[in-house]
């Protein structure tokens, strides 16, 4: 029996679909970088994820090595576990960055407002 859930062998069609999807993901990210919509610094983690997905698509059996090593019986649970852990960390990291950006934004807004006020006063004095 071909069953990914038990021995990691994928049905041919699913195998092909997953390879296509992961290649598309990679192309999508690379295009975003080329168009300047994504910084290289921020893209690294997603390229890494893409790379892992690609490898697993080509060699699904590899995916079984890690859960086995950790003693996890159901590989699918391991998949969800790692995916959720990754997403949680990523969202937290985004929240931290968001706080930092609002802080920087606040300082910039204040500086611009103070400078504008100063310039207006200088112009009044000149006239």
């Amino acid at each position: 029996m071909n069953n990914f859930f038990f021995d990691g062998t994928l049905p041919l069609r699913l195998h092909i679909v997953s390879i296509i999807v992961s290649v598309f993901m990679l192309v999508f990210i690379l295009r975003k970088i080329r168009n300047g919509k994504l910084h290289i610094k921020d893209s690294l983690i997603w390229l890494f994820v893409c790379f892992i997905v690609l490898i697993i698509s080509f060699f699904p059996k590899l995916f079984f090595a890690l859960p086995k090593l950790l003693g996890i019986i159901m590989p699918m649970s391991a998949l969800f576990f790692f995916a959720i852990m990754f997403l949680l960390l990523k969202v937290f990291n985004l929240t931290v960055n968001f706080s930092r950006l609002s802080e920087e934004n606040r300082k910039l807004t204040q500086e611009i407002a103070l400078l504008k006020n100063k310039i207006e006063k200088n112009e009044i004095v000149k006239n």
């Binding site: 934004n105 606040r106 807004t109 204040q110 611009i112 407002a113 103070l114 504008k116 006020n117 006063k121």
Partner: protein, 232 residues
């Protein structure tokens, strides 16, 4: 002695004229700076038409960010004392000199106008729910700092040069009044409450909606708790 009145204003076109004129009537020597927090109405134009100095924030920063802009302005222009008066008419400028006095006489670093002590009790006392919230905050601050303050959310304040410098560098963002009391107390600044009579809002709407009150309480209580560890 250079004294600056900072008026944070967000959509206060109905009351800003009244507040500016009343300040001028009661204390001529005080400079006024209106911090227009990206108002969508004519707050800035009205203030300018009265020849008041206006700082227009290009983004809405909220009361904390707006006040800090005023503190930075006070610091850079070498003011000795800064007063915060809300632009909504709740703070009666007739009591300006009452909150100034203890700071000028160096009795404290920050004087807070309180509607819950002395003759202040004769004025506007806020809704029951608000008063309850203010009491809880008062208890939390007492617990955190061993310092009793009754009107924890009053934004009618005077601060001296040292506090201006401290706030220009570090001031809470969202609901700064209660939190800034804890910050100053932990930094060994002297705080004093002075009775003032407050009025109901002259016009416009309060920036804190009833629905937000619970979120407000949780946020401020958490901030007080964290400040206990942050400033030691």
């Amino acid at each position: 002695m250079k004294i600056l009145a900072i008026l944070p204003a967000y959509n206060e076109e109905a009351s800003i004229k009244y507040v500016i004129e009343k300040i001028r009537q009661n204390a001529e020597a005080i400079d006024i700076i209106v911090i227009n927090d990206s108002s969508k109405d004519r707050t800035s134009e009205i203030a300018r038409s009265l020849n008041a100095d206006v700082i227009d924030l290009p983004n809405n920063l909220g009361i904390g960010g707006a006040m800090q802009t005023g503190f930075k302005f006070a610091q850079r222009n070498d003011y000795d004392i800064a007063i915060q008066i809300d632009g909504d008419g709740q703070h009666n400028p007739e009591y300006l000199n009452d909150i100034l006095k203890p700071v000028i006489e160096k009795k404290c670093d920050m004087a807070i106008g309180s509607r819950f002590i002395g003759f202040g009790k004769t004025g506007f006392q806020s809704s029951f729910l608000r008063r309850f919230g203010i009491k809880i905050l008062s208890a939390a601050i007492k617990y955190a700092t061993n310092f009793r303050i009754k009107d924890t959310t009053s934004g009618f304040r005077a601060i001296n040069r040292k506090v201006i410098a401290f706030f220009a560098d570090d001031y809470p963002n969202d609901y700064p009044e209660p939190e800034s009391i804890v910050m100053l107390n932990k930094k060994m600044f002297e705080i004093m409450e002075v009775p003032v009579v407050m009025s109901e809002r002259y016009g416009g709407k309060s920036s804190i909606r009833a629905i937000d009150t619970i979120y407000y309480m949780i946020k401020v209580l958490l901030a007080i708790f964290i400040d206990c560890f942050k400033y030691r």
